[in-house]
Amino acid sequence: MTAAFSNNKESFKDSLLITKSYCKAMQLTDIKFSLSRAGSHLTPKLIRVMRLTTVLLLTACLHVSAKIEGQTVTLDFTNVPIQKVIDEASKQSGISIIYNETLFAGLSPVTVKLKDATIQDVLKACLKDQPFIYSFEGNLIVIKKEASSSAGLKPADSLASSSLPPPIDIRGRVSDSLGNPLAGASVSIKGSKRGTTTDANGNFTLVAVKDNTTLIISYTGYSSKQFKTGGKGEIAIFLNKSNSPLDEIQVIAYGTTTQRFSTGNISTVQAADIAKQPVNNPLLALEGRVPGLFITQGNGVPGSSVTVQIQGQNSLINGNNPFYVVDGVPYFAEMLSTFSSGFSNEVLGGNSGTNSSSVGSPLNFINPADIESITVLKDADATAIYGSRAANGAIIITTKKGKAGPTQVQIGLQTGWGTPASKLKMMNTEQYLTMRHEALKNDNDIPNSSRDYDILGLYGWDTTRSTDWQKVLIGGTAHFNNINATVSGGTGQTQFIVGGTYQNETSVFPGNFADKRGAIHFNINTTSPNQRFKFQFSGSYMNDDNHLPRHDLTATALSLAPTAPLLYNPDGTLNWALKNTGSSSWNNPLAYTIASFESKTDNLISSSQMSYRLLSGLDISANFGYAKLVSNTYIPYPLNFNAPQNIPYSLRIADYSYNTTSTWLIEPQLNYKKAFDFSKLELLLGGTFQQNTSEGQALEGTGYNSDVVLPDIRSASSISATSSLDLTYRYSAFFGRINYIVKDKFIFDLSGRRDGSSRFGTDNQFHNFGALGIAWIFSEEKFIRNNLTFLSFGKLRASYGTTGSDQIGDYTYLNLYNPVAISPIVPYQGQLGIEPLSLPNPHLQWEETKKLQGGLELGFIKDRIFLVANYIVNRTSNQLLYFPLPIVTGFTSISSNLPATVQNTAWELVLNTVNIKSGDFIWKTNFNITIPNNKLVAYPDLATSPYADIYTIGKPINITKAFHFLGVDPATGIYEFADHTGHATKTPDYTVDRTVDINNFPSFYGGLLNTFNYKGFELDIFFQFTDRYQPNTFGGIPGGTPGLRRLNQPVTVLGRWEKQGDITSIQRFSTMLSPNAPSLIEQYGDLQSSDAGITSSFYVRLKNISLSYQVPVKFMQEHHLQSCQLFIHAQNLLTFTNFNGLDPETGNGVLPPMKVVTVGIQLGL
């Protein structure tokens, strides 16, 4: 508990002193101890306040006093310094008295003789005729120099109660419970229209106020307080941090706010919720928790890609990535890819962003344990200040910051086990043989030893064995181990945190594969003693070493026949099941574990903010940021990766790629804060200079003489560069924001900016954007407060604004030639050829998104029931995309602006309730749901455009036009579809018969979280749900006509047509390629493109269960622990779905999300 103030603006350099009645001066670092002794009921609140306070504390040397009411003192001093008298009075009374230690310097000694006097009497006696005033507020007495030198000493009179007091001037100061001044706090007189706000030092003055009035003091993030003046002219008011979630700090672009005063559509996920989920990628911790945010995991492989969409898909084809900001530094949305298509590493899954050849997600390289909060900004008001970069919303990641207090050590240990969350029921050997023989029979064929060895049991194929390939290839248990430690602490002026994490996660694939990562994070904050200069520096570094098979074996596991050969020969080598000709009869899937994938990534993110107070309320500041992602990938192709018959024609190959992406950022800013009567104004003016550079090269070595030397490129007899990359992107912006709050009731937020991007030709580089947000906290209105008492909070808000997008490749305005990509190349006549890279478009312009959003927030019964409803309308026009061209032009597309308009509307609802709060038991529920709707609003001349076949005006932009499936013709056993006239046909025409539009966007999604607290126990149960269309087992892998040789099928196909008259939805088995029967491949393909191939899949996933137990205080004290928590976390434990395929989230051909269960302990030392 510290205090820091002065009413004289120039006196900051004087440090303050607080005496403590019964103990020696204590350093700030001891606050917690002293508080717990002086008033233990305050402890939790204060500790929390300290954690949340980012404002730096003012003084270096502070002394603390505690409060005991109603004490009297007896003093007998002669000619002693004032200080001594006051210290003694404080000691006897137990009342804290705060003053500057130089305050009494140079004053003559005093003589005080009092018996059983009140503390007021003591002060009156001591400070008589001295230029000091003091104020008395609850637990503290504050002594300071009088503001105006002309003013005399008043406290003696004002403290005395009077029955008919004259109007007085009230001067006061508003601080938080640690004594930090609260600037811009509103002070109003109850029952009158008068009021004011505090200045930068927390001071306010109200002139000629009736005495004994009640003041209402409120401040963002703090509980409001009513204060009876009681004749006091000088008052100090200490506000406590609010407990309401409404007042939790929300990070916004270039600042913070709270849900109470926010005009934008913002959601925040806190560290505690992230920590409960054993995930590698922090984005995965957001799944289902944020309305309007739709996240899908590429696959369950550690390090895989994640697709993120905020409020739907704005851009027709590319550029739908949100803007990621880590501690103020723009972060990469996509990984670089410099591999040519032949050697890309498919195990991590592709991205759906601008660069479709990139794999993985850069967010994998941010340690979830280092994150304090993730804020999702959705509407124009919230994102406009980020401008074009945030057209698709912004995700702001704030890492943990140091907090003042005694040095604390936190250690977390976690270990767990993972398996794929879903499994598809495939045929066993008996069923498989039935299918294959029936298929041959249907085709009037008999088994042929050259191709039907899978059912003849030749060459190692075994009809007596029934292998569950999912168990063999993806059925392993991934081990998850995580150790995490942080040290944090600091004084009022400087705080720090340093944390380290090591994590090892093995894979479910056969073989020795793992993703290992080590991360460190640190942050330091400091403030100059006069509080004018503030500095913050944060850094995170992660080293990730990911070793995986090159190929996700899931698709193979689903397609291999149960009779397929053993993986290994008795001698331990790969079994290629050679035919009598000497060529292999199958592709051994473990070849991909030999041709493995090793990726080492280093990620550094550092940022610093510094600010200097030029004048009262006016700060000049700058953010500096630098992030660098370095990724080295190595993929070897040893000789035995090849089937034996191919070895004589194969060389040993190894691919090495080195990629570096870095970004730097400088953002100078001017901030101005001014408080008026009843209103507050904040101005922000700033600029952004950002540069992204990407460099990379991929080298391929060929012709090594041994597998052992593959890691060393010098052992290659030929080396060629398969690709190289050099991209520079620059972005600059000039922006301003005005935030104006009237009477804590009306909030206006206006922002504008001018953005420039190097991605456009010189004529179109710059564009202006702007946004306006307004909010009305109607629950502050008197008539509502008086008449609707059950309504504790009510806010209406609306925002409208424009943002843009430049998410298209770099240099598309330039006509460029690149070297011909052939590897390993022998230069033609000693010369390297070049070829045109793409069609240039110097006329590219910004894509523009207009966002209109409205929200209603209602709190009932002291916010125990809290409802937030948002309705959004976003329209994106001047679509930036790669416009498809006939190849006759030389290329399949050109970067272009398309005059199409896409509209996303959605309802986003959040309902938070505290269902039970009795004694030790608390049950809380958080529910959110998003109901999106996407449609193409306008597209001039769609019918004659390349998109005529893809889009329909008024329909969502990712519809699939599909045939309508009618079933199986009972007479022939062949699939039938409806043609455009509604008649059944076995050969539907693509141009006219695709009559069904399937919307591939989710129709709704959301999450339900129940939290139960009982004593030290906390139980979280979180369900995530999504309803969308997905290609099922027919639309995806496993594919191929049931009956095709060597291809297993799900057991569901057993309901097939067998004989004339059968009514079923599975066509007859066929080997597809028999000369004696018509091929059914076309009908099978049509099925995949029909409404039977893509079906509605609703799923509810028990995404997370977390049970934790806080060990009792007694135990901790005995073992000298600050905290001790035991926990069990489980991710993706159960899935309920009607999806007819492997997994409703990731689909069919890829590894499903991991079901992970971890146990752990978190210790505070």
């Binding site: 032949g342 000709t581 003016l685 520079t728 600059s732 190349i825 006549q829 010369q831 070829e835 030389g890």
Partner: protein, 487 residues
Amino acid sequence: MFTSNVKIMRLNKFIKLLLAFIIFLFSACQKFISVAPPVTSITSTSAYASDATAAAVLTGIYTDISGTLSTSVNKFRFLSLYAGLSADEFTLWTNITDNQGLLYYTNALISSPNLTVGGDFWSSLYPYIFTCNSAVEGLNQPATLTPAVRKQLLGEAKFMRALFYFYLVNLYGDVPLALGSDYEVNRKLPRSPSAEVYKQIILDLQSADSLLSPEYLDGSLLSTTSERVRPTQAAATALLARVYLYMGDWVNAEASATAVISNPAYSLETDLNSVFLSNNNEAIWQLQPVIFGDNTEEARIFIIPPTGPSDDFYTNPVYLSKNQLAAFEPNDNRRVNWVDSSIVSNDTFYYPYKYKVNAIGSPVTEYLTVLRLAEQYLIRAEARTQQNEIIGAQIDINAIRSRAGLQNTIASDQSSLLTAILHERQVELFTEWGHRWLDLKRAGTVNSVMSIVTPQKGGTWNTNWQWYPLPYSDLQNAPQLKQNSGY
């Protein structure tokens, strides 16, 4: 607390600061946004500003064509394989389930949104044509190139453009005639009648004929070399002879072929095993292998290893058909030297053995031959027959036959000679650049031959199938383009 003076001073200070801040940011933002082109690329302007980079544009095309078969983009190199499958030259290995191979083989190509097979050459040749067009435009701009280099490169670009259009018009029929690099023009082009396309091919080849160097040039284009891997005047003349023949312009076909045959740089190799060696006397234009460790992909794909054909379409998917084997007369040395076999568990697979080096890492001794002298003899024989120069025609055809160890032809009238020439082409030019497929269509025998062959391959013949389908994406992206009938 403050006097009004102080307030005004503060305000002034504040406004000044604000203005300075705004001006600084505004001007800085404007200047900041300009980036240099990436070091990994060069701009089109600089590409045609120096001899070396301008030459690299054409070299890029040769490199790409000569590149590996396994790249998905470059399907031009698949011509010998695909056209051979479409015609009667190859039998597809029974275990191949790959759509690409199967649909070409059974003459059942498809062009639909979810499956499109047959547009491969269209899709790979137009990008090359774009490069040629850009090169012609770039080279025609006032530039600092050495005149001789500029002249040669213009000739190469026009020669290559003619070559590409020749194959397009013979595989797809009428095709759009893109002659510039403006995509706004090209995307709206309709299909031009093939006669117009041929007219353009002739114009380009005549122009190339006058521009190209008579000597083989090295990579610098300034000195001569023995490497026959860049187009020369003779290449243009040779292709011109072929195009005139296809157009039925017998006089010019004969004249052009004569020009090549009488060129002392070329003579028929007496040893059949030398015909596909690098820089042999018969070669008019070859492509240098560009893949490290490889000779030709032809050898790699066609030669059946002792383990037999491969189930993988991209490895060893085909062997010579019975039709092709039956076409050889007894004692034809080409049957001996250009065909070999592998015996795999009692089955004998015969395969083309023109290119013989398939082992990886062997010294490079064979180049992929695009134009060779033997074809010129056969062109002239046909052109002379059409003009009733029977004796001249017999001399030409016998030149080819005697090299193969065969007796002189017994055909002595126009119609029997035409049949003999067509047959001679079948056994001389088999599995080379789709000659057989093109000849069948040109001679009008495609329906009579294929209506027998296609059912043998497991398909159904229809006269529509002689034209490959346009890729579906182009029909979608350029609605004015109409699909070939039957698809």
